[in-house]
């Protein structure tokens, strides 16, 4: 446990000692000047008694400090909040307790001193002058006690304030309210008493030194200055506490976001403490509100992220990669992709004007509208024209959305043809043979006018060509020196030679990581890239020979390809079993297990499904045989026929077909389906 540093205790003791010595010296001076008592006369009676009184006060006040403050020392670092709060309150109460202690004990000692004087016959109350003398002495001593009590209160409060700060208590203790104004009134009253009583003493007959009026003015002036000094000292302590609070506030005001909800410690039980406590309460409330807002924003961020598509659809020959990084929790950038009938791939990238929650809300509505309109069919231009009417109805022209839509044909004679329409969006970049160039469009953003029509343009992508869509956050960001990123930067990056085997996602990630590393994110950034590999890229074709075990290399290659292409698809084992059984069926029944015979096998990955096709040697489709129940199969000898049984249970579809006069068996696995129920 940390020890309380010795300095505050020593300082308190020193203050107490100084107060008592000052008081004693004042009494000595009073006796010497006012009553004309020599040092020898005082040494014989007054000085020993006053010294004894000082020693007694030292012991009593010291004991009081020890008794009241030692629990404070123990509890300051304690874990129990109640004990810490009690100790803190005791610490702040102590100066007032010391004030009352010194004043009370001084009164008792003054009474005892004069009682001893009377008992010892050093004074008498026989004559009115003697009583007046005694009264004047008591008034003088009382004045000294009052002054010293106030000074001791002020100094002890100053000394203990540092200790109070270390408690880091942010709320005012319950029922512990004091009034600075009340204490200042008491101090003012004490100062008034000091001035008035000392002026009265001058009126005492026989005390004139220069001239009665002059004496009166001198004493009044002297004690007024003294009283004003005490009062100013007392006020200065309250002012210091207020300045501490003001300094905290100023630091908070000039600090960053981290300091927004900071609280500062209570250092007094009076109005300054009330102010600090109230401020801290306000800060806590604002903090709670902010935390609630932040929680909501995080939730909104999660919801928005869930709206964005996760893994791209494996549509024949098209490789897609995208990154969307919002500059705040929620933003207005979005991208999406859908597979349209005929394995046509539809891509969209958009940017809603503005930032934060309003932009995010509009973005969600636009994404929903896009999906709805895309499902209705039509060209990219038609889609944007219809979507524009929805957006204009929502925004009334007060906000707008830039958006680009592309549709890629992945099959048939038009395979590789991409049709693009843009609504005020940044031009897409077409990368072909290491040359990156903008594909220029000119059109209004969505939401500006209700009857805008959007035209489209088409291009045929070559194998390995990349089409990139981006939002302005990528080209309008600045580096540390304020230099604008611009289109040249992204064109340069996309023109750089990269290994053809490098996944598109890695390339996109590298570009975005470079942006994040060197350019401040002032706006949302989205990059969507499409690479065309050719319409034969999503097929694997094999030749199965009529030999048991010939299916194994086909299984190995298919497994590696599917796991690489669809790393999260959970039905690979089911697919391999079905492929194995289809091959085995062909080996046994179609190829008659003769190594000289062979059949083609094809695994075709489309946007929605994986189709396994195994061709037969003949041109007649087998008649579907009724399925034998498993219990009956068990009784057969040999118990065969499990292949078709497993295919029917593992695949989403199985049947026979004919292609160019050749019969084939085909099983289908739908990509969006979970594993089928087990029998």
């Amino acid at each position: 446990m940390k020890r309380w540093p010795a300095s505050p205790a020593v300082s308190l003791f020193a203050a107490m000692l100084a107060a008592l010595l000052t008081g004693s010296f004042c009494i000595y001076l009073n006796n010497r000047i006012i009553h004309g008592m020599t040092f020898a006369e005082q040494w014989s009676f007054h000085i020993p008694l006053v010294a004894a009184g000082d020693a007694l006060l030292l012991v009593l006040l010291g004991g009081m400090a020890l008794l009241r403050l030692s629990p404070v020392r123990k509890s300051r670092n304690g874990e129990h909040a109640g004990e810490r709060m009690a100790a803190f309150r005791r610490l702040l109460d102590f100066p007032l307790e010391w004030f009352a202690g010194l004043l009370g004990l001084s009164l008792i000692l003054i009474f005892l001193f004069h009682a001893v004087e009377l008992a010892a016959g050093r004074i008498s109350l026989g004559a009115p002058e003697d009583a007046a003398n005694l009264a004047m002495s008591v008034i003088a001593e009382l004045n000294i006690a009052l002054m010293l009590s106030v000074l001791l209160y002020v100094f002890s409060r100053r000394l203990l304030r540092t200790q109070a700060l270390r408690f880091q208590i942010h709320a005012l203790p319950r029922n512990a309210r004091r009034s600075a104004a009340g204490m200042l009134s008491v101090t003012a009253a004490i100062c008034f008493v000091i001035v008035v009583t000392n002026c009265i003493r001058v009126l005492e007959p026989g005390t004139t030194v220069l001239h009665p009026a002059l004496d009166y003015l001198l004493v009044a002036g002297l004690y007024s200055v003294l009283a004003t000094g005490i009062f100013a000292l007392s006020i200065s302590e309250s002012r210091k506490e207020l300045r501490l609070v003001a300094d905290h506030l100023r630091r908070l005001a000039s600090g960053g976001k981290d300091g927004l909800h900071q609280m500062f410690p209570v250092i007094a039980l009076d109005e300054t403490g009330w102010l600090t406590g109230a401020w801290n309460q306000l800060q806590q409330r604002i903090k709670n509100e902010y935390e609630q807002v932040e929680r909501n924003m995080k939730l909104a961020h999660a919801v928005q992220n869930r709206l964005l598509p996760l893994s791209p659809p494996p549509v024949g020959g098209a490789e897609i990669a995208s990154v969307c990084r919002q500059s705040s929790d929620v933003g207005g950038d979005f991208h999406d992709w859908l597979v349209l009938p005929g394995n046509r791939l539809c891509l969209a990238v958009g940017d809603v004007s503005g930032k934060g929650l309003p932009a995010a809300l509009l973005m969600c509505a636009v994404m929903a509208g896009f999906r709805s309109e895309a499902a209705k069919g039509g060209s990219p231009g038609d889609l944007l024209t219809r979507l524009n009417r929805h957006v204009h109805r929502m925004t009334r022209g007060e906000s707008f959305v830039t958006m680009a839509v592309a549709v890629l044909d992945t099959e048939g004679p038009a395979a590789g043809t991409v049709t693009v329409a843009s609504a005020g969006h940044l031009d897409p970049i077409h990368v072909s043979n290491r040359h990156a160039g903008e594909w220029a469009f000119s059109s209004l953003p969505l939401g500006i006018t209700p009857d805008a029509a959007y035209r489209e343009s088409a291009r045929r992508l070559g194998k390995g060509d990349v089409l990139v869509f981006l939002t302005d956050g990528i080209v309008e960001c600045r580096d540390d020196s304020g230099h604008l990123n611009g289109f040249d930067w992204i064109l340069g990056r996309l023109s750089q030679p990269v290994p053809s085997a490098l996944p598109l996602a890695s390339r996109v990630d590298a570009i975005m990581d470079e942006l994040d590393g060197g350019y401040a994110a002032e706006d949302d950034r989205t990059l969507l890239a499409l690479r065309w590999h050719g319409d034969d890229a999503m097929r694997r074709c094999f030749r199965l020979i009529g030999e048991y075990g010939a299916e194994k290399p086909i299984l190995r290659e298919t497994e590696a390809w599917i796991r690489r292409t669809l790393p999260e698809w959970p039905r690979v084992d089911d697919l391999l079993t079905v492929l194995s059984e289809m091959c085995l069926n062909a080996i046994e029944h179609g190829l008659l297990a003769e190594t000289g015979r062979s059949s083609p096998v094809q695994v075709h990955l489309t946007g929605e499904a994986i189709r396994i096709r195994v061709w037969d040697c003949g041109d007649r489709q087998p008649a579907p045989a009724p399925e034998v129940p498993p219990a009956d199969k068990w009784r057969q000898d040999p118990p065969r026929g499990w292949g078709l049984y497993l295919i029917n249970r593992l695949a989403d579809g199985f049947g026979f077909g004919c292609d160019n006069g050749l019969v084939y068996a085909e099983s289908v696995f739908k990509l969006d389906k979970q594993a089928r129920e087990e029998c």
């Binding site: 048991y548 075990g549 084992d573 059984e581 068990w634 040999p638 065969r640 292949g643 497993l646 087990e678």
Partner: protein, 121 residues
């Protein structure tokens, strides 16, 4: 092509263990079923056979038929068949074809032996 099938037989106090290696397919039919007559039991006077599949990565429908014949033969001899080391996928296939009606599945050989000890007699 097929990974050659072979098996090793071990006799434990509680059962006979067959450590299976390679593909359970056409080749297993000859090696496993023609090597001995399982309808007289697993041998060594034991009444339980543990099939250890931990070194098997491929089982096709021919292999399933082989296993059914093996289990059926042991059933006739009044013996019990246990299996361990099967992947999750093949555990599912075993359930689909009804092998789990006759074969108890365990994650490993220790669990299978522990079960036999608990259910001895």
């Amino acid at each position: 092509m097929e990974t050659p099938f072979r098996y090793e037989q071990r006799a434990l106090p509680e059962a006979v263990v067959l450590d299976l290696h390679g593909d359970i397919s056409k080749e297993a039919e000859y090696r496993l079923l023609t090597s001995r007559d399982w309808s007289s039991g697993p041998g060594d006077g034991k009444t339980a056979l543990i099939l250890n599949f931990s070194r098997v990565s491929y089982i096709n429908s021919i292999g399933i038929a082989v296993l059914i014949r093996l289990v059926r033969a042991l059933e006739q001899a009044g013996c019990r068949t246990l299996a361990c080391g099967l992947s999750i996928h093949y555990q599912k296939i075993f359930r689909m074809v009804g092998l789990t009606e006759y074969v108890l599945l365990f994650p490993n050989e220790f669990a299978a032996i522990a079960w036999l000890k608990e259910n001895a007699g």
